[in-house]
């Protein structure tokens, strides 16, 4: 099992828009694209000299979203293929540019035999998004590479691929811990309840990574569903649950459901060792 810290890091990295990361802190705003002179980079990318191309890819990656016009040239490099280091640099550059059209070029690379290349591809797809990325993540969830599976689960949650929930449950039951957060992001009340049914079977730190997005959705789930979740946590009644609910209590939005808040407030003292 991957440590929870890496899981949370992955979520923090790849889920910039989720409620989980947004709620306790101020929502980050996307910085405006800086003005970059793309012409010299373009020339480097077209060069016949591999070293010059490599430098061009580094520059393109540094340009970030502003380098989007360079994407077709970089996609061309990947379509023809190069060496694994160049492929990886090209993939990272496309990931930095976050152009949805790049997803179709990146997709085959999640099955590359070189682990660094396929992992770079699955990370980049988290930024380029789109239907091709979702399809790639669904494939990635089934692969032999644990990191690809983890990033794929996160990606599916991030991209709102609700139809992937059955697969995410299969992944979660096979120790893909990142699937918990993805399920938390995507689940409808019945699936959220099914997720809560894993309490006691799956590590609590993994489960909380799914409960957070359930409890703190931007568009909240029905009160009844959330109260059920709190009830499930209360039934488990461990000191960890008490600590977690106290944390949830402290973060509960002022304009959040009063009934859910009440359920949390009454659950905490009922747990042995919980706050009175």
């Amino acid at each position: 099992m991957r440590p929870c810290s890496s899981l949370l890091l992955a979520i923090a990295t790849l889920l910039p828009g989720t409620w989980a990361s947004a709620q306790p802190k101020d929502k980050p705003t996307k910085p405006p694209a800086a003005t970059v002179d793309l012409k010299p980079i373009q020339e480097k990318l077209k060069s016949a000299d591999p070293q010059t191309v490599a430098q061009g890819l580094v520059d393109a990656k540094a340009a970030g979203a502003a380098g989007a016009p360079l994407a077709p040239s970089i996609e061309e490099i990947l379509k023809k293929g190069a060496t694994p280091p160049v492929d990886k640099a090209a993939i990272e550059a496309l990931g930095a540019m976050a152009t949805p059209s790049s997803s179709s070029v990146l997709r085959p690379y999640i099955r590359h035999r070189t682990p660094d290349v396929r992992r770079a591809a699955v990370r980049a797809l988290g930024n380029t998004k789109g239907p091709e990325a979702i399809a790639a993540f669904k494939e990635g969830l089934r692969t032999e590479d644990g990191q690809v599976r983890g990033f794929s689960a996160t990606g599916l949650g991030n991209l709102g691929a609700a139809d992937a929930i059955p697969d995410l449950f299969l992944a979660l039951d096979r120790s893909v811990t990142e699937a918990a957060a993805a399920i938390g992001q995507l689940c409808a009340p019945d699936d959220c309840e099914k997720f809560a049914g894993r309490l006691g079977r799956i590590g609590f730190d993994v489960m909380t990574s799914g409960f957070d997005p359930i409890l703190f959705r931007q568009k909240p789930l029905p009160e009844e569903a959330l109260i059920k979740i709190v009830g499930r946590l209360r039934e488990l009644g461990t000191p960890e649950v008490s600590k977690y609910l106290t944390d949830v209590q402290s973060r509960w939005p002022a304009n959040g459901s009063k009934k859910v808040k009440q359920a949390i407030d009454s659950a905490i003292p009922s747990i042995p060792g919980g706050a009175k």
Binding site: A48, D49, P50, L78, K79, K80, G81, A82, T83, P84, V86, D87, P108, Y109, R111, H112, R113, T114, P115, D116, R118, L141, R142, T143, E144, D145, R149, D167, L170, A171, R174
Partner: protein, 614 residues
């Protein structure tokens, strides 16, 4: 006229009356004996020829623990239980079970378990013979050297006690004559009435056991020699001796274990790895029914007694501990306390007898037993398939052998089994390699092959070992099976398949690919033409280049020739298969066909794993 049986009874009665006697030492086992070239045993055999050899009970007895024996007749009578301390494994002979423990030797009726006699005795039990009136027991002395042979009447009287320094093996007794094998080469015919050696046979095959079966007397260990009119030729190694054909079997199983060994209460590997055969009681020396069987833990295999070819295989649910061959089959007793009767010809189950308790060891005797032939069961391919798929690790050695035999059968089921073995993550490496090799050589079972290729590694559905894509690619390409092309195309870029699989898939696509595979080939070529730093990847890239050229995508390959990212090894090899514009044309103005690339040789599947290209 006083019969020998009557004389023996009289001797027993005189001993009972306290007249003493019956104790003999030495002479019968004189090592200074001069070889009489079979004259003595020949004369004895002529006198003895008309003596009827009684048929023994058909019974299995099991040792549950060091003080419990269970037994059951093989013809379906009620099972029985008897409690007595045991210092070793009991023996079954004739109509009795003989056991020894806590200084007491005892005999039970084999069919009912009822006590027949008990006597004080020391040492350890080697074995026993019985003719329905007298039981002869060979006991190793407590010092571990020398033997005590006791002849005890069913009335419980010691008819004769023989003590000698020789290690005397498992005896037989018929009509007052005890047959005592010793020193690995002699069988002394001992006259229990007279208390002296009546004759001696010298055999040239290892001998430590005497036994009766089917109305004849046999001596054996390495082979089995019948007491018949040829016995006089024993010293010249021309007696009626039968041996089993030498054939490769793991664990070096024996037909007859050494008769001077003391069988322990607890069975060991030598009991589980055994051979069983029934020597013919008359006619030319041979194996009755033409079949012998081997057990290897939970597996039983039937062989042709002349050629050694496999006739059947049987997968069981418990280790076999002992058995016996009967006319037309084999009775095999297992650790769970069941006896399974297997038909000698088909390996089909002819019957089952339950002893009722799990066993530490077992002893089976089948003499007059017969069962109706069992026909119409699964064929050899199906039987072997079941056996080679057994998951227990201890079977690997025999499974390897049976897999090789199975691969020689032209049955589509064999192809399926080979695919299943090669796809199962639990298959031991020794079998995996063989199954892949055999699969590549198959030329039937196409539908099974295509179905297998539809599967991929799938973490979510627990398909944790991909199908054997490389061997399937070899086989399907050899059969020119075009339907395989899209399936192979889908595997070409699957990193869960080994590099060996990838190179063989690519090689197959050179023959089988059609337009639909262009994308898969192009992707592979793009991804690895600059990454090929090993032979297998290079082979695969070159094969995809060949396939692309064949499909009219020469431009892709030609472009790679000029591209700085293409590895030098790849560039060198693909330069000969693509026609660059500046290359000269052949005399007739047409472009020369690319030289066919050499098909990669069969590689071991363990050579490279997916994802190891760091």
């Amino acid at each position: 006229m006083i019969t020998r049986g009557g004389a023996l009874l009289a001797l027993a009665l005189s001993i009972a009356a306290g007249c003493g006697g019956g104790q003999t030492q030495g002479a019968a086992f004189d090592e200074g004996w001069t070889n009489d070239n079979g004259a003595g045993i020949g004369a004895f055999q002529q006198r003895f020829a008309q003596t009827k050899v009684p048929v023994g009970a058909d019974v299995a007895i099991g040792v549950v623990d060091k003080q419990t024996i269970v037994g059951a007749p093989l013809d379906g009578g009620a099972p029985w239980t008897y409690s007595h301390q045991l210092d070793g494994r009991p023996a079954v002979a004739g109509t009795v079970v003989v056991g020894l423990g806590a200084g007491e030797l005892f005999a039970l009726d084999a069919k009912s378990g009822k006590p027949i006699w008990k006597r004080n005795a020391g040492g350890l039990l080697r074995g026993a013979g019985d003719d329905g009136k007298t039981t002869v027991v060979s006991l190793m002395s407590t010092t571990g050297r020398g033997t005590t042979v006791l002849a005890v009447s069913h009335e419980g009287e010691v008819v004769r006690q023989v003590e000698d320094e020789a290690a005397i093996g498992v005896p037989a007794v018929v009509d007052g004559y005890a047959f005592l094998p010793w020193q690995g080469q002699y069988v002394t015919v001992y006259d229990l009435v007279e208390g002296k050696e009546a004759a001696r046979v010298l055999l040239r095959t290892q001998v430590s056991r005497a036994f009766t079966e089917g109305g004849a007397i046999f001596f054996g260990e390495a082979g089995v020699t019948r007491l018949d009119d040829q016995i006089r030729l024993g010293p010249a190694n021309k007696a009626s001796t039968v041996t089993l054909p030498a054939r490769e079997l793991p664990g070096s199983p024996r037909w007859l274990p050494p008769g001077i060994d003391i069988p322990p209460v607890q069975s060991g590997a030598h009991d589980k790895i055994r051979l069983y055969a029934r020597p013919a009681a008359s006619g030319a020396p041979s194996i009755e029914g033409g079949r012998f069987a081997a057990t290897y833990f939970r597996i039983a295999v039937g062989f042709d007694a002349q050629s050694g070819a496999i006739g059947w295989a049987y997968a069981h649910d418990a280790d076999f501990l002992d058995g016996a061959a009967y006319a037309g089959g084999f009775a095999l007793c297992d650790q769970k306390g069941n006896v399974t009767l297997l038909d000698a010809k088909s390996g089909g189950v002819a019957g089952k007898i339950a002893l009722g308790k799990p066993l530490s060891s077992c002893v089976v005797q089948a003499d007059g037993l017969t069962k109706a032939p069992v026909t119409g069961g699964p064929g050899l391919a199906e039987q072997l398939s079941k056996v080679v798929m057994m998951p227990e690790a201890e079977h690997v050695m025999i499974q390897k052998l049976l897999l090789r035999e199975m691969a020689g059968l032209q049955d589509e089921l064999v192809t399926k089994t080979l695919i299943d073995l090669a796809s199962n993550p639990l298959t031991p490496p020794m079998l995996l390699e063989d199954s892949r090799k055999s699969l590549a050589a198959r030329r039937n079972g196409v539908e099974y092959m295509l179905a297998a290729l539809q599967k991929h590694y799938d973490f979510l559905t627990d398909v944790l070992r991909p199908p054997p894509v490389g061997p399937l690619a070899d086989a399907l390409a050899a059969m020119k099976e075009k339907r395989a092309a899209p399936l192979l195309g889908s595997h070409l870029n699957d990193p869960a398949d080994t590099l060996d699989d990838a190179q063989r898939t690519a090689a197959a696509l050179v023959q089988l690919a059609e337009k639909g595979e262009t994308t898969a080939l192009t992707v592979f070529f793009a991804h690895y033409r600059g990454a090929a730093d090993d032979e297998m990847t290079t082979n695969a890239v070159v094969s995809t280049a060949q396939a692309l050229v064949k499909l009219g995508a020469s431009d892709v390959v030609a472009g790679a020739l000029k591209d700085p990212y293409t590895s030098e090894t790849v560039r060198t090899r693909i330069s000969s298969i693509v026609k660059t514009p500046d290359k000269p044309k052949s005399g007739d103005g047409t472009q020369k066909k690319p030289e066919p690339e050499k098909k990669p040789a069969e590689k071991k599947p363990s050579e490279a794993k997916a994802g190891d290209k760091n």
